[in-house]
Subunit: 315 residues, 2 copies
Amino acid sequence: MVSIKDIASAAKVSISTVSYALNGSDRITKETADRIQSIANELGYVPNRAARMLKKRETMLVGVFLTDFSGHFYGDLLFGLKEELNRRDYDLIVCSGRRSHRMIPERAFDGAIILDATFADEELLGYADRGHKLVVLDRELEHANVNQVLLDNKAGATLAVEHLLGQGLSRICAVGGPESAFDARQRMRAVRQAVERAPEASLEELPGAFDKASGYAAGPRIAEAAREGPVGVFCLNDEMAIGLCDYLRTQTSLQIGRDVHVVGYDNIELAQYMQPRLATIDYSKRKWGALAAEQLLKMIEGEARGAGADLRTVG
Amino acid sequence: MVSIKDIASAAKVSISTVSYALNGSDRITKETADRIQSIANELGYVPNRAARMLKKRETMLVGVFLTDFSGHFYGDLLFGLKEELNRRDYDLIVCSGRRSHRMIPERAFDGAIILDATFADEELLGYADRGHKLVVLDRELEHANVNQVLLDNKAGATLAVEHLLGQGLSRICAVGGPESAFDARQRMRAVRQAVERAPEASLEELPGAFDKASGYAAGPRIAEAAREGPVGVFCLNDEMAIGLCDYLRTQTSLQIGRDVHVVGYDNIELAQYMQPRLATIDYSKRKWGALAAEQLLKMIEGEARGAGADLRTVG
DNA sequence: ACTATCCGTAGAAACGTTTCGATAAACCGT
DNA sequence: ACGGTTTATCGAAACGTTTCTACGGATAGT
């Protein structure tokens, strides 16, 4: 593999000159710089990322951690993230699985974005304590090295319940999320408040885990409730709503939109292709991603500047 | 950040001893090794990935390149990939976008898996020429450093057409893929052959680009054809099939499954949630991913062994 | 013309590992 | 007790960069 050294000997200059030239330093005359540049191109030189990482102590890489690659949820989010990072000359890397967590302490990137239930809060705090920069998505975590990008879960869940109440439904079911999920707790709290505010509305809470299976599992209880008249169901995310619809359609003769009104949350791509189209709470995932990137870069570059890279002893 | 050096001085041994101990070499006595190990744990030592990459000239990382993160297609594939790689102690990294291509020549990973239309064949061959190991998914590319993992597109497409013919449909439409896509060409060729084999079947080919929009765009022509009796449509992938169904449902009164029979390809997750469920050609994406991983590792590790890592002059 | 200043380039150290070869101590058999 | 072998540890070089400091030559000022 051709290295800076090869260019140096080909151009009959020192390796430092090559380095300066290739990085566009004005210490080098334009002519030598151009000459070196073209020799580098000729030889097909590409800088070695590992060496640069090691020396500069920065990677220009940001990792995003997802619970899994199933992906329905993440397309737009990742798009937003990537765009914003690329604008600032960073690259995005997507990771999943417990194994890959170690890339954080190994300094494989300059910062990480966490949307991954396999990270415990304590684990994240541990990384933050050691100086790693993190952004957590829709999770509560207080630390100088952690930024949070939260959704307005309260507003969204309230909207969902009011949508159901507005259709004249007074018997509301809510299918919840895992106890550990911050956003699930926020949404459910808002549901309770919204139902309480309505004079004669009633609420039944059903357990869930944010996956299709739990929506399906909630089916029987909801079908039973629907025997006594139309019922409004708010599933705390779309996956569960889809699971529920699946149950209702295949295992009962209840009609969605008449006997049972379902509303989900997140507006995943699948939602719009359901028949009938699933009612859901939408928010801009792209913007969410861009915001997360911005928060992370603020921490990364903020420190780089703050550390006084340009301090020099004078006189 | 704590380095091997810190451990060395804490343990009052040389850094080489620490390195050997931490890597489980039998040059070091068990007692010292244990002592060093526990000191490392105490100090919270984590090896620096960049340094190790630089020195060992390997990353234990594999990159997979996708056209975009939209994701419907990739969940299971990535799962299969990741599982297989993890079994062999490699980590998986997902990348997208032209910018990130450069990570290949920069040696950011030991090999890459390409399922990304933004790579031109020549670009890939260029990398391969420089010694980078690649696996291309459903793409034809001959090179010593490139392995291909192909799908049996011919069998799948034949199955799809025969499914339609078997339902008594004799007027077949096929919505194609981009001209540059190898799998699209293979599928379309099989379609033609299958139709020709059927005595009185006719085929109409419509252009497409593997996205929902092109399925939608094919709608008017298909609706027109359906006025003269039921027609069978094979969309060369599910995305287009879904786009077509969307058109038929919203813009016409034709009934899917009666006036128009649609079959797709890939069995993406969305397919099973369509109403009615989309007929499609299924294959194991998980297995596909595992196979790709295996092919790549064979090249990577094959070379490592072949290069005689264990050759030693004796006598 | 002689020193002071500046400018372009070179030299060398450092980043954190791995690993080859060397070295000193301990062991063995006779 | 002595050479020879083994054993545990150490020293140093190397991976490919970046970047601080040094240096020599040209230019400019008086």
